[in-house]
Every structure is written in C-alpha cells, then in structure tokens.
Symmetry: C2
Subunit: 264 residues, 2 copies
C-alpha cells in the first residue's frame, strides 16, 4: 500500500476492537483484514502497515495482531518477510497444498483416490483448454513438449517439464479456480513422485501421449483432449503404483520391468 508511517488502511482510530469480552480478539483481526481483502481495499502485492502501527490502529496488542496475521499467512493470502514487511500474496493464485497433505495423512486417503480426483480435474481442464487456449498458451505447451524430448535421459528434468506442461494446460483452461485446484492436488502427488521417478524406465510412451494431448487441444477437439488426458493419467497411476511396489521391495532383484512407463 504505502511506505510512510501514517498508513491508515481506512480504519478509523476510533473503531477500535472493543470489549474482547467474548474473547475472540484474534478472530476479529482476521475478520477485519479479510474484509479489507474482500472489499478490494487490499490488492495482491500491497504492503500492510508495520505490525506495531497496525496493532495500534486496530486497538489490539501486537501478539494478538500477529496471531491473526499468521493465520492469514498460513492460508496463503499474506507473506511476511523479516525486515521488509507483510505483504498481500501476489503472483499466480495458489492454494497451499499442505492442508490437503495433512488431511490425507490424518484420514488415510489412498493415492488411488488422489489420482482419481486429479483425473477428474485435469480431464475437465483439458477439455476446456481445447476450447479456450490462446495462441500464446499453445506455444507454451509446444515448448514444454520440446523440452521433454530434450530431457528423455534425465528423469528429474523430464519431470520438471512434465509438471509445467500440465500446469500450462490448467492455465489454458481459462479458469483460474480450476487451475488452482489442479495445482493443489497435483502438488501432493508430485512430491511423492519425485522420489520414485528415477525408477521409471521408458518415457517414450508418456511423451507420445503428451503429444497426442497437445494435438487435440491445438485442433480444438475437447473430447479427444479429454480422452487423451484420461488415458495419460491412468498410465501415470499404474506407473506410480508399479514404482512404489518396486521401492517397497527395494532389495529384491527386479525381474521384468519392460512394461514400466512413466506417465506422470
């Protein structure tokens, strides 16, 4: 917002949070900041007043204010940098995937369910991308495929461009809400994937499917794009399961692995 010390955020000094008799001081802070965001008075990249000032403006102590700020920060809407200040999150909209990760751990979500969800989201995104992708977005997709060709012998590098390709499709759907969810779910799976990717053996089939998917999007054929994405994720799921089995029996001699594909 501003840099001077008299930042006010439009909060009247009189409108101090009163009588925390109900005890929800922190909740009040969260609500106040949230309202500023919802009311578009705080935009991405804006800087909040210093904690000491803001605390005084809201009529709460600094610890209470910090509690509220931390809650919003853990939701991903605020970012604090020591020495610099507290800022409204900028850049592309993202939802932190850590909550989903913990929820999965708590309730024992299976990876199959996770893949199923990812499939639903990404198949939808692929269909929309075939309808809405701009020329520039199509170019980005093509570039990532080229990079994948170049990285055929480097699993980790291949994975990076694979991820970017999928992210580009989500973006090309033209639906930021959908893209955000795709990113959140995929992030959980990618983390695990990065650990087992080195066991993958043949990327050619994976790359083939990527190509097929790209052509469908480029030629504006939603149904073909959906079908390709469905097939692609199914293979990825199978490859993932296979590699995980191998890892669990890591000391045994792998006999046949000719049908192992990467997918991702």
């Amino acid at each position: 917002m501003q840099q001077n010390g008299k930042t006010n955020l439009g909060v009247s000094p009189l409108k101090v949070i009163e009588s925390n008799g109900s005890g929800q001081t922190t909740e009040e802070v969260i609500a106040r900041i949230s309202d500023l965001i919802k009311g578009a008075q705080l935009k991405p990249g804006d800087r909040l007043p210093a904690e000491r000032d803001l605390a005084r403006q809201l009529g709460v102590s600094r610890p209470s204010l910090r509690a509220g700020l931390r809650a919003l920060a853990s939701m991903g809407v605020l970012k604090s940098r020591q020495g610099a200040g507290t800022f409204v999150a900028g850049g592309p909209p993202t939802l932190d995937s850590e909550p989903l990760r913990l929820l999965a751990a708590l309730h024992g979500f299976s990876f199959n369910h996770m893949f199923e969800t990812r499939s639903i989201l990404e198949v939808g995104a692929a269909g929309l991308a075939a309808q809405n992708a701009t020329g520039e977005q199509l170019a980005t997709l093509a570039e990532e495929i080229a990079e994948m060709y170049a990285a055929l012998s480097d699993p980790q590098e291949y994975l990076v461009h694979d991820i970017r390709f999928h992210r580009a499709i989500a973006a090309a759907s033209g639906n930021p809400t959908l893209a955000t969810l795709v990113e959140m779910v995929s992030a959980v799976l990618y983390e695990r994937r990065r650990e087992t990717i080195d066991r993958a053996h043949d990327f050619k089939e994976s790359l083939e499917l990527h190509q097929q998917l790209y052509r469908a999007i480029r030629s504006r054929q939603p149904e073909e794009a959906r079908a390709a994405m469905t097939e692609h994720i199914l293979r990825a799921q199978q490859a993932f399961a296979l590699e995980e089995r191998e890892e669990q029996s890591t000391n045994q001699i792998p006999e046949k692995r000719e049908d192992a594909t990467v997918g991702v």
Copy 2:
C-alpha cells in the same frame, strides 16, 4: 492422547529445537507436529499436551509454540478449545473454504468460473456415485429428496436439504479426496446463494432434476447421472445469475420472472 501431565509425544527432551540461528523456530514447530501427524502418531481426536508442557518439550517459548499451533489450526488440522485443550481435528475430513474465498476475492474469480469448477467436480462425483454408492447412501439420498418435497414452500429449508443431497452424492462417490474438494468449492457458492435464495420462485423443476439424478445413481447408470448433474448445475448457475441481477436492481420493478428456477 493422554490426560496426565507427563505426556511426552515421543519427543525426547534432549531433542530440543536447537540454535534457532536460522530464525525459523515456528517453522520447526509446524514441521514437528506435522511429522507426528504424517507418522500417524497423532490421530483424529487426539489431544495434545498443554501448551506450557509442549513448549518445554520442544524447547521453544510458549508464544512460538502457539504460533505454530495457530498455523496448523488455521489449516484445519487442529482445534483449540479454551479451558479444554488442543485437539487433532476429528469428524469428516474437510478443507476450510475461507482460503479459497479470499483467493477468489483477491484475484477476482468470477462466479461463472466457480460454477464451472463445481460442475466438473460434482459431475465426476455423480458418475462415481452411480458406480459405488452403498445401500445406506442411496437411502440417505432418497430421504433428502423427501425432505425437499416437504420444504417446497420454505426456500431456506429447501436449500439446507439441497446442500445435504449434494454432500451425500459426494460421499457416495467413495472418494474422500473428491468429496472434500466438492465441499470446499460448494461452500463458497452456497454462502452467496443463501442471500439470494429467497428470490427463487419455482423449485419444481429443480426437484425434478434431483429426482432424475437420484434415479440414475440408483440404477447404476454413470453416464445418465453425469448428464443429469451437468444439466442441474447449469440451471443453478443460470438461476443464480438471474437472482443476482434482480438483487442489483433491487429497487426496480421486476417485470417477468416466470422462467426463474432455483437449481442450486
């Protein structure tokens, strides 16, 4: 976990968080608790040691510990009750929808995009429900439809059972990850919906579609279920847009509204 004061959580008193030279004391706390959850040492409903004790066990101050706990609480994995203690979240797995709400406000996500995302998720859920729904889940669906019939003249009450019906479908998909996302996205839309629902006029068509959807699920026809859900949400989106337009011009005389349906 336990109620006595000697709770240890398996954390060696020696394994104190050392040399916060890097300054990330709170991060350490979050990581430690997260690991306990991921390692299944903390299960839903478990109670954590008192803050003062836990702070001593981890070798951090109480404010720092609280900062970590609050971050996890705002992610929805912990719940603190004054006077009682801090507990691992129990009940059905849910992701707080507030982060999505704020993200939408920050980046100006449109309701149409939100509906589109909801459609993708719920259509997928409906298809899976047709495959996986148990007898009991089918019964729940039927009951909610009956309740909707009974509430035909009470918009708010109708909406409640409408929500439950959709929630039941998500549950019947057998995929908790998917159900969680459905809930998160829908919650954002429902909140706004509750404000405009009273402007809805005719629930019959909506109810008809619900019936159709239920029959498709009951008779194990995924494609029919998907089609019905697609149609249903499309109508809901249109009704929503219509009611919103009415609200914006709330002081004008509404001329014709015969084609307004509710959907939800």
